[in-house]
Symmetry: C2
Subunit: 152 residues, 2 copies
Amino acid sequence: MNIGEAARASGISAKMIRHYESIGLIPNAGRSLSGYRYYDKKNIHTLRFIRRARTAGFSAEQIKKLLSLWSDQQRPAREVKQLAEQHLSQLKERINELKSMAAALSELIMHCQGDDRPDCPILKSLADEDTTQEFNNSLNKPSIRHGQSLKK
Amino acid sequence: MNIGEAARASGISAKMIRHYESIGLIPNAGRSLSGYRYYDKKNIHTLRFIRRARTAGFSAEQIKKLLSLWSDQQRPAREVKQLAEQHLSQLKERINELKSMAAALSELIMHCQGDDRPDCPILKSLADEDTTQEFNNSLNKPSIRHGQSLKK
DNA sequence: GTTGACATTCCCATGGTTGGAAGGTTGAGT
DNA sequence: ACTCAACCTTCCAACCATGGGAATGTCAAC
């Protein structure tokens, strides 16, 4: 199987397959005489595993661990569960942060008439130290992380 | 005021102040004879505005708009509200994605004994096409975005 | 033998932020 | 005057996942 077929079969783009190889998430693929990578069923299975784990929001680092646990038939389920729990608590933390942002923003929006007049509590709140009631209480925690950008 | 003082006064690191200047979020700062940037109260006020908007999760691009709206005394509140609403809906969308990830993961974790035995439904579900009940139903949407990594 | 669909490597960009290196400036203490 | 620490400057690289594109090579079918 070429990388394109592998991509179709696994649901991971050829670009990403090469990338995963380059960061050591998957072992170097075999090469044909002309230098093409080739993949077998086992490789595809691994790629699918990775896709699912990514879909579940695991980081590359966590997936690396999951893969090694996966390939170790002797590992205790405890370790896997622990990793998953760690990830879950990170997810929950992130959700709470976003929720408090959303709540604060929602509050501001409600107080804004949104008409043709220039008076706007949203800007006031962002600008002013003292207009800061609930808004800054709920937001002034060290909460921002990079990359919460929404694709597209 | 030097950049260091400005950083302390605004709560934005000197690094980021330079960065914001470089991407045009703030105008080029004045320079002393020796090339040091200097800032006055108005600049600090702007920086604080930016910090608050970042804390509220606005992107740099959105903040750019907010700043221009802020400096325009004539702008209708409608525009600001619209921007805030757009951001809010992005936040909500993101929250829902994370929630469905968390729910699915939580489901898996509950089914895992987490003991010394190697049998683990979490790995099974990630590996297997057919073990995929609710898990993949809730996860197999085009949902993953980059950078949901949780800092440290 | 040409064409089209693949493959390869390499570099660049995104988003926000941080880190470091290598060097110049300032101000205070000796 | 000299030194030292604390500041400042610029440039470059990294995180993470992903995609775009260029330049070039290979394989199949017609």
